[in-house]
Symmetry: C2
Subunit: 191 residues, 2 copies
DNA sequence: CGAAAATTTGACATGACTCAACTGGAGTGG
DNA sequence: CCACTCCAGTTGAGTCATGTCAAATTTTCG
């Protein structure tokens, strides 16, 4: 049914057919138009999302009123406002589609069911969150020890298609710099 | 045996006596002198550590040769070079005691055993890593959207005892600024 | 007490931001 | 097919936040 989802699950755990079927039965497909918001601050994040096709950004608005991208998510990524989802309390993030996107959503309640009925799912989520934590930790490390230029170069190396799919101002916001400064950096790099 | 460990486990899962006993049997106490290193880059992180008493820092050395603190860990925290521990590949971090410290260490192999014999442990680690991820994500958010001064004020509010236990240059490194600049900021804040 | 390390202070340098003007597509409607 | 608007991106001048380096001072600890 959802080959990309299977592939993703198989990365970390092996499941039998009936387990796959159960998981797939809980995943609700949904299509989201470009620019549409899936999540807004103050609301409780009731689902976690698996991206089958497309591109999302998780962002917040800082004290000065600027949008700041916390995280991009592409095909085969899971995304949600994890605090809000886990605690079922109002969240702080926006989640928005940057392209027309197809997601599979899993409610908190169905997640609990899956965790009860398929114990290996605990393992899957544990590993997923370990990886997510490691990635965030690395990003913190880069923020505190690298210059904006290094961070940019690393970003385009790590996500080679990013410049095609994400506008420059979103990349700048992700890197923690202004779009103007990114533009200047790029022209400096070219020469 | 280890009341703090029990308290920590109870935060997220409920276990029976025999399960506690099994867990405690795998935790190996170890004391670490101030300034001693538990972990160094290039080595495989073979244990995860629970801090019973004391204070550690996880840090790395950046391209310019400066130490950069990625994370502080105090009593009741679990810490390791998570990537290295999980993948059992050479890591990139130093882990060092900032005070005389008592830790309980759990080897990767014993961890696997615990996960097999106490399925609820998967849940425990999943939740722990969700929380860790959320905390790191928040830190990234602060790095990209707040000034150094705001980050400092937030830091001392969040860790009121930090200034007593951690030297200023370590705090500066954690915040991503130089010790000199932190010093200037503090004198500005006083007036 | 004395040496080494941590912190403070100051002068100067630079990375990164702000604001405003300009350029150059990508739609949209006539 | 043109004129128009609307963004995103570029460029430049001036400014502010933070870094660098070196010297002075204080604290820590053997």
């Amino acid at each position: 049914m959802y080959p990309l989802l299977r592939k993703n699950l198989q990365r970390h755990v092996s499941l039998d057919e009936s387990e796959y079927a159960l998981i797939e039965s809980k995943m609700v497909p949904r299509s989201v138009a470009r620019d549409e918001h899936i999540l807004e601050p103050g609301k409780i994040c009731r689902h976690t999302y698996f991206i089958d096709q497309g591109f999302l950004r998780l962002y917040h608005i800082n004290i000065k009123g600027y949008e700041k991208n916390t995280l991009f998510a592409r095909e085969e990524w899971w995304v949600s406002d994890l605090y809000s989802y886990h605690a079922q309390k109002p969240g702080t993030y926006f989640l928005q589609a940057l392209e027309d996107t197809n997601i599979l959503q899993l409610s908190k309640k169905d997640m609990e069911t899956l965790l009860e009925r398929i114990p290996r799912m605990e393992r899957f989520w544990r590993i997923l969150h370990i990886n997510a934590f490691v990635a965030q930790q690395e990003r913190v490390m880069h923020m505190i020890s690298k210059t904006a230029e290094d961070r940019y170069l690393e970003f385009i190396e790590k996500y080679p298609d990013a410049e095609l799919r994400i506008s420059q101002r979103h990349i700048a916001s992700y890197l923690g710099i202004t779009p103007e400064f990114l533009s200047k950096m790029k022209s400096r790099l070219k020469s």
